[in-house]
Symmetry: C2
DNA sequence: GGTTTCATGATACGACCGTATCAGAAAAGT
DNA sequence: ACTTTTCTGATACGGTCGTATCATGAAACC
């Protein structure tokens, strides 16, 4: 037998090369040859670990989702304990908004996959349980804030959570599109959060 | 000289074929040959009216923007006169949200161009004065509503307008992505509008 | 009414695409 | 030591891409 290699690591390495190309130059340029070159690997190797290009695309998208999920989780975990519901909401949403290099990279890469997913929905038939999950997390935090008197009681948590997520996604698009810088987007997001949560001692005293 | 032909009409016809392909199968399939076939025209003709593919893509995007702008204008013009600011805001936003076949077509097509524009920003160096324009329109309407006592006075019109636009774009993405249907998106949008405008006789009495 | 000019068609060229094939190196098991 | 299995490399094939070339139709102008 040959030297045993960590297949998963190899797959991540190659998929990472594809994600890098997708982020920087778009999926149009993510050909097998370009991916192999970016991973400093032969084309045959890419074929070996991913039998077909669709498989490579799908796996890469999976790794990307994993990475974004990890970032959100890390952000939430890094909050002081116990974090206020607003901290959780704000932390989650700013983790998705392209403000720092990592989030720019992640959202740019996601954007590269967006139209592909729209055009070929079969590719992700079994994917994306995420958005609904995030929405539920946010709604749950909003409810907790209401019970603690930290958010206005008449808010509908579900509709508000969905709105916040859509707002953040829309802001992210405009930032990536260059119509707004990250600072302006963050200002808009914070403004809307301020309208949901009642002011407390710890937060942005005027 | 040959029979004189309306060049602009021909260009629109060909660009329309590209837009149709982009919407239905994505820009990946919008090759010169496919566009020509969809327009029932020879490849040479496509080359004749658009010297290069980039030119075709750029022109098509322009026509698309024109079409969306016309839809918004038509929607606003169709409002009773004088329309309330809320009607204008709501009409503008629902014109953008993919709720009926035409708006689905427009937003799907836009989405197809999205990642291309992100990857090749040079293509649209001179384009897209639109978003800022819409934002200003919404902000202006919000201010008018405030002066008429129809919207809460403490709102920041600029930030709120930007938020509404981003919210609508985000909702549109989720509808196109199939995570939500148009009805749910409209419900979320209406909920947020309800939180901005003070209830009046004409609107959704409980 | 010939000629110029605009408009259109058929076809070819080189490049790159995804994938398949052929072959070989390298390490574990016996 | 030798076989067997896992891994890697070079190269070829058919297809499609964007674009260029060559050729021709048909109408307006002198």
């Amino acid at each position: 037998m040959p030297k045993r290699v960590d297949h998963d690591q190899r797959r991540r390495h190659i998929a990472g090369a594809l994600l890098r190309i997708a982020e920087q130059r778009g999926l149009q340029h993510a050909s097998m040859r370009e991916v192999a070159a970016a991973a400093e690997v032969s084309v045959r190797l890419v074929q070996y670990y991913f039998h077909t290009k669709d498989e490579l695309l799908l796996a890469s998208l999976g790794y990307l989702a994993e990475e974004l999920g990890a970032r959100v989780a890390r952000r939430i975990a890094a909050l002081g304990s116990p974090p206020t519901p607003r901290d959780v909401v704000s932390g989650t949403l700013t983790a998705i908004l392209p403000t720092d290099p990592e989030s720019v990279r992640l959202t740019r890469t996601y954007a590269a996959f967006y139209s592909l997913v729209l055009a070929e929905p079969d590719l992700t038939r079994h994917g994306a349980p995420h958005p609904d999950l995030l929405e539920r997390l946010l709604a749950h935090q909003l409810r907790a804030a209401q019970q603690a008197g930290a958010a206005h009681a008449e808010l509908d948590p579900g509709l508000t959570a969905a709105g916040l997520l859509a707002l953040t996604n829309g802001l992210g698009s405009s930032v990536l599109g260059g119509q707004r810088d990250a600072e302006a987007a963050l200002r808009i997001l914070t403004y809307h959060l301020d309208r949901l949560f009642v002011p407390s001692a710890g937060h942005t005293p005027p």
